[in-house]
């Protein structure tokens, strides 16, 4: 039995689909304690009792639709006019646009692909050096994960059974802190001699505003709808979907009607990939809980560490490694059920834990040697990956500073919930 388990692990490393690897381990585990195998499917079928799950496919579809439209160009144009005058203008614009875009499309690497090609040449033309520009884009490929309605936030809510509207609020200040810190660094690193800025006329500003007029209200609709009490977080996804569908297909006509089936099935495939991992981990988690494994790990760790803060530090290191190895969705689904009971044992608030989790996993995206963003950027910009390691290093440092602040000042992620929650 153990040989089979070991082989399964090995196959996971060699590229077997993760949901089958987890399923295989769950099947083997249940078989080894003589429990009927149907329990695996019983656990999976419990997914039909998760009311929040519906927001995943709907937000995925809305995000895919947005990334297939010309929304990125419109938002970029608009932010250039309104933020471009600042010192470090374009870098600040890039960070802001990437953050917004990632929040809506959920950090599946779309940001680097959709925006990288637009931003890199623009940054170089504005006199930023290449290393800085590539580092900026690579690390901002997952920036904005903490802002609503990002998919990882929702997925954490689903897995940990915490309130999504609270998670949405909790992410805002930590996300802003991260954004501001990176912006400050970019302003400092901006080119000393800037090309004479092309003055944007009021006319241009109005045109850009008009062009993006239909996309601008989206965040207001989502947040206003949820916190104004018009609908719950799950329904916000449906409203977003309908709105984006009408705007991109019927008003802007960026996406033609005949393309919809392709985009729809593309987003459902993406969702399917996440759902089966979630389903498989429902089964394996049930086994872990049944065998009281989280409790045993907790007992073990507690015999060495009794301070909550040392535990959090250790957790950060562990999650950074996980984040660099696994993609964010599998990492959340697999690790959260294991860590949550342990963290609760140390008195860490589940919402705060969620923000710590996502920050770590986000940083993991650009951590050498195997962070996903590094590969995507290396592929997109046709640069050797080692060069990207060096260029992301300063950004990585700043992100880790934010991580420490977020971890040790729970206030940051909790104050908005106290005010509005």
């Amino acid at each position: 039995m153990n040989i089979i388990k070991l082989t399964t692990f090995l196959l996971a490393l060699l590229g077997a689909p993760l949901f089958l690897v987890i399923s295989a381990l769950a099947l083997l585990a249940f078989a080894s304690v003589d429990i009927d195998l149907s329990v695996v499917i019983i656990e999976m079928s419990r997914l039909a009792d998760t009311p929040l799950l519906v927001s995943l496919p709907l937000f995925i579809f809305a995000g895919t639709l947005l990334s297939e439209s010309h929304a990125p160009e419109r938002i970029l144009m608009l932010s250039r006019i309104f933020l471009g005058w600042m010192p470090g203008g374009l870098a600040v614009v890039s960070l802001a646009v990437c953050a917004i875009f990632t929040a809506f499309t959920g950090a599946s690497g779309v940001t680097i692909f959709a925006l990288g090609g637009l931003l890199l040449p623009a940054l170089l033309k504005d006199g930023y050096n290449e290393r800085f520009s590539m580092g900026l884009i690579t690390s901002s490929g997952s920036l904005g994960l903490l802002f609503p309605p990002s998919l990882p936030l929702i997925l954490y809510g689903v897995v940990s059974e915490t309130r999504i509207d609270h998670l949405f609020l909790a992410g805002i200040l930590p996300g802003l802190l991260m954004l501001l810190l990176l912006m400050g660094y970019s302003i400092k690193q901006g080119p000393a001699v800037r090309e004479k800025q092309h003055k944007h006329s009021t006319q241009e500003a109005i045109t850009a505003l008009r062009k993006a007029a239909w996309e601008l209200p989206l965040p207001v609709i989502i947040l206003g709808g949820i916190y104004g009490g018009f609908f719950v977080a799950g329904e916000a996804a449906a409203v977003t979907c309908l709105y984006v569908l009408i705007v991109e297909v019927f008003i802007y006509r960026d996406v033609s009607f005949s393309e919809l089936p392709r985009i729809m099935s593309k987003s459902m495939m993406l969702f399917g990939g996440i759902l089966v991992i979630l389903a498989a981990s429902m089964a394996s988690t049930n086994y872990l809980i049944d065998q009281e494994i989280p409790m045993r790990i907790f007992e073990f760790i507690r015999s060495y560490i009794d301070s909550k803060y040392t535990f959090l530090l250790l957790l950060n290191v562990f999650l950074l490694i996980v984040g660099a190895m696994l993609d964010i969705f599998s990492a959340l689904v697999l690790v959260v059920p294991l860590i949550l009971p342990i963290a609760t044992g140390y008195g860490v608030d589940p919402i705060h834990l969620g923000i710590i989790f996502l920050t770590n996993l986000q940083i993991g995206y650009c951590t050498p040697p195997v962070g996903l963003n590094l590969f995507l950027a290396s592929y997109r910009f046709e640069k050797p990956i080692v060069e990207l390691y060096r260029s992301t290093l300063p950004f990585l440092g700043l992100l880790i500073v934010t991580l420490l602040v977020i971890t040790y000042f729970p206030w940051l992620s909790q104050v908005l919930i106290k005010l509005f929650g």
Binding site: A12, L13, G15, P17, V239, L245, M264, L275, V370
Partner: protein, 175 residues
Amino acid sequence: MNGRDQQRISSLMQYSARLEEGVLCLLLTAMIVLACLQILLRSFFSSGLLWADPLIRYMVLWSGLLGASMATSRGNHIALDLAGYLIPERFQPLVQLVCYIFSAITSGFLVWASILFIRSEIEYGSPGLFQLPTWSWNSIFPLAFGLITLRYIMLAVTQVIAILHHETPAKNINR
């Protein structure tokens, strides 16, 4: 397996893929419409459809599992894939084949587990949504895992043929 059989199977697979795509689009559209309808009914008429929420939840399950089955044929499943860096290129088709075989076996066991599950649902289950027995709502499990198993078997067979013919298989086949 001779050429004609293979052709017949692959056209069957294409047909099922088209069907799946259609069903997926229908499910997604229905989810959007139903969820929006619920908000409308509640906000303006302070009412709602009692059956809509459970129905949406089942549709989420169905669309996800069917989506996963489609992702299988496109090689779109989330995987670690360190093989590209660890294994010399020469052996990669073989490693890929081993992964396909493992996947086919595991999903085969999942089909078996689903059948056990459905059987006990038929025996002890209660009427669910719309008075339909719960097993019919859960029948997507054997269906989707069955399709996934079939696809992995197909992928494995194609891979074997490709290896025997010394083509450059690995990545190109599952696109």
